[in-house]
Assembly symmetry: C2
Homo-oligomer: 426 residues x 2
């Protein structure tokens, strides 16, 4: 059952939070030895939370729903290690703001999910639930695997490059990167201030919207059943990174576009302006410089405990001049303006989610190249699973919207979700 249905039944007291949680724990018991999605799990504390909710009034829109929290977010009652040995056993004094809001909305915080080291590249032990020899993607590895494997209906993810969208696509779940600063970042370990975005992993658009509403403290985002569906104008946008996509991803996009056309949506092929050619590089420049700055304490005091890859990344960041940094920021601003112009004619862009199916091996978390530009541009992005590819692993497409249009965006994404159900184009 999806989170929206569960939430309704929990509100009606049709089902108990405790029994739902026990189902999740049973699934975790069965699968965790292979999937390794969790960095910390406290069954007894979660069961106590659930019983409290069952015995008290309905708390809010997430009442009784079990939620996984990426271990880059502070929690006041669970250790928070940010995927780094430096912080093994670290105990924050407070909950990240989004976690506090999620608890206040009635959710049961089940545990902490595996993140790569400081949400950069060095992976944890998580495997792809569809095939344990393949990466689940990163940096929100544990959250994506846990939701995909039905260990938990909802989990927090964060994205600086492609860490919501990519693991969602690799694991076959809905990943929603809301407009920048929709969910508050207080208490989330900062990586790159101009890019870091918190978002839900879920199993449907409505579930992602419900979770974002609870975690942001604003309920306008919840999708209502009683409204007529939105029929968005869709721009089909291969992006300048198209040639880096494997045939399976290209087919997923083009097949999905054909299906949407057949279902009666207006689809317009769109080419992004020439300035977008260098946008992924600009995102990288900003990310490298801001990562270098944000992780200063760890770089200066814990150098030996950083992975070799992260050390290399931080050293690259140190070299970026003020001129290169602001030139990258200006390009991002310019592209933001051009994107606003494009959104006069379309409501959504349909774009590739990733370069292909989840790569084999657990030492890398895959390539975020298809996501970088959309992170920099700050608008909402949402990944919809569309069947499986030649390796038998999930394929997906991503929809992208205008910054600040999330309510309309989610309704439109739900229309596409319905039209793309039970399809497989790869």
């Amino acid at each position: 059952m999806n989170a929206t249905t569960l939430a309704y039944r929990l509100h009606q007291r049709d089902i108990r939070a405790e029994s739902l949680l026990r189902d999740c724990l049973a699934r975790i018991d069965a699968r965790e030895p292979v999937v390794h999605a969790w960095a910390w799990l406290d069954r007894d504390a979660a069961l106590a939370q659930a019983r409290l909710l069952d015995d008290g009034p309905v708390r809010g829109v997430l009442h009784g729903l079990p939620v996984g929290v990426k271990d880059i977010m502070d929690t006041c009652d669970m250790p928070t290690a940010y995927g780094s040995p430096i912080y093994a056993g670290h105990r924050p004094t407070l909950d990240a703001a989004s976690v506090a809001l999620t608890r206040a909305a009635g959710a049961v915080i089940l545990g902490k999910t595996v993140t790569t080291e400081f949400a950069v590249f060095h992976p944890g032990p998580t495997t792809n639930p569809h095939h344990p020899g393949h990466t689940p993607g990163g940096s929100s590895s544990g959250s994506a695997a846990a939701v995909a494997d039905r260990m938990v209906p909802l989990a927090f993810a964060t994205q600086t490059g492609g860490s919501i969208i990519r693991p969602a696509a690799y694991c076959g779940v809905v990943g929603y990167k809301p407009s920048f600063n929709t969910l508050p970042r207080a208490g989330v370990k900062p990586l790159a201030d101009s890019l870091d975005t918190i978002g839900p992993l879920a199993r449907s658009v409505a579930d992602a919207a419900l979770f974002a509403a609870g975690a942001s403290g604003y309920h306008d985002l919840i999708l209502r059943n009683d409204e007529a569906p939105v029929r968005p104008r869709v721009g089909l946008c291969q992006t300048w990174e198209w040639e880096q996509c494997e045939p399976a991803q290209q087919q997923a996009l083009l097949g999905s576009a054909r299906q949407l056309s057949r279902a009666g949506l207006a689809l317009t092929p769109l080419t992004l302006p020439q300035s977008f050619v260098h946008l992924a590089d600009a995102q990288m420049t900003v990310m490298l410089r801001q990562q270098f700055q944000s992780l200063s304490f760890e770089r200066l005091h814990h150098w030996q405990e950083l992975s070799a890859n992260l050390r290399d990344i931080l050293e690259r960041g140190a070299q970026i001049s003020d001129a290169s940094y602001w030139s990258a920021m200006r390009l991002i601003q310019q592209c933001k303006g051009q994107l606003r112009d494009l959104f006069r004619d379309v409501d959504l862009l349909l774009v590739p989610s990733v370069t292909g199916e989840a790569p084999e091996g657990l030492r890398h978390t895959g390539n975020p190249i298809m996501n970088r530009i959309w992170t920099a541009l700050h608008g909402p992005a949402l990944t919809l699973p569309v069947g499986t590819g030649p390796k038998g692993l999930p394929t997906a497409v991503t929809v992208v919207g205008m910054e600040g249009s999330d309510i309309h965006f989610l309704k439109a994404a739900q229309t596409l979700e319905t039209m793309l159900e039970h399809t497989n184009y790869a």
Copy 2:
């Protein structure tokens, strides 16, 4: 002596960090009972740091300089209370990134300076060093008072509304709000993610630039003596908030403009576009909503320990709809674009710093209305003291530049600083 001269002599080993620090401590001993600038001071630890620096190699651009850290920024060796009883005695496990960089550049972290509650409005005990019956401004109250009172040459400030520029103007020091995300925010208690900006308080433009270079980890910002001075084109900009300025502030601006004209600068009167009329309101909308989100843990778990004023602010934030929030964000984006257009014809805008001299009384920290729009627009802003007003308290003018132009901006601001020295127009 200013920080730049001190830094040179410390590098040359002409003076010892320890003796400089002892001078600062003597000043603090004499004045702290009246000024109340410090939330925490550890003389012995600071002296030990200074001796280590004297006995070792030159560490970096801030070698041996004593620095005050606003108590909204985490420090690994000093308590960090964020101006709130909730966090009395709180001990973070790491330094804020900017503090870590400042230490690595050789600075002596002398102690923590008084902040208002969570850098919002509820004041601490700090008084204006020019008159103990008047506010020093806020939220960076202790940092501004400490620099103005010559207790320390440099101190950290942060601004979400007007918390760098306003206390700098009230206390008669240079306050520099760099372009957004120039100094890293990791480890600074978040208030409003789209607005929070860290910046230096200092006694000259060169000092502010030197400090920003050390605290950002990038040295491009340091002003060089060997370059020809910049002669900027200046726009004289009364702003739509002009009528809220007292005559003393109006005179400070207009008198400074006349002086710059006489000194040969090209001054152009500029009117901001009509859209800027509602920009201060938009900044308030964004700030209220993001504050409500960022302080979720405290609101949900420590309501009784929040000031009545902050509770009211958080309740107002809870009421802001998604539509109002994004409408405010769009207005800010629009004005950013229009401001970029204005900067085709001028290098700097000369604008009012505050509404007037520091108000009497310590229960309020004064009005940030003259600063709100410039915080939202993300460009550099710097306050230059220009004498005293009718109450005998400092007056100031602010220069504003284009986002990302900080190197050129600081050089240009230095030209104005020289031209406005020894003047008094209020």
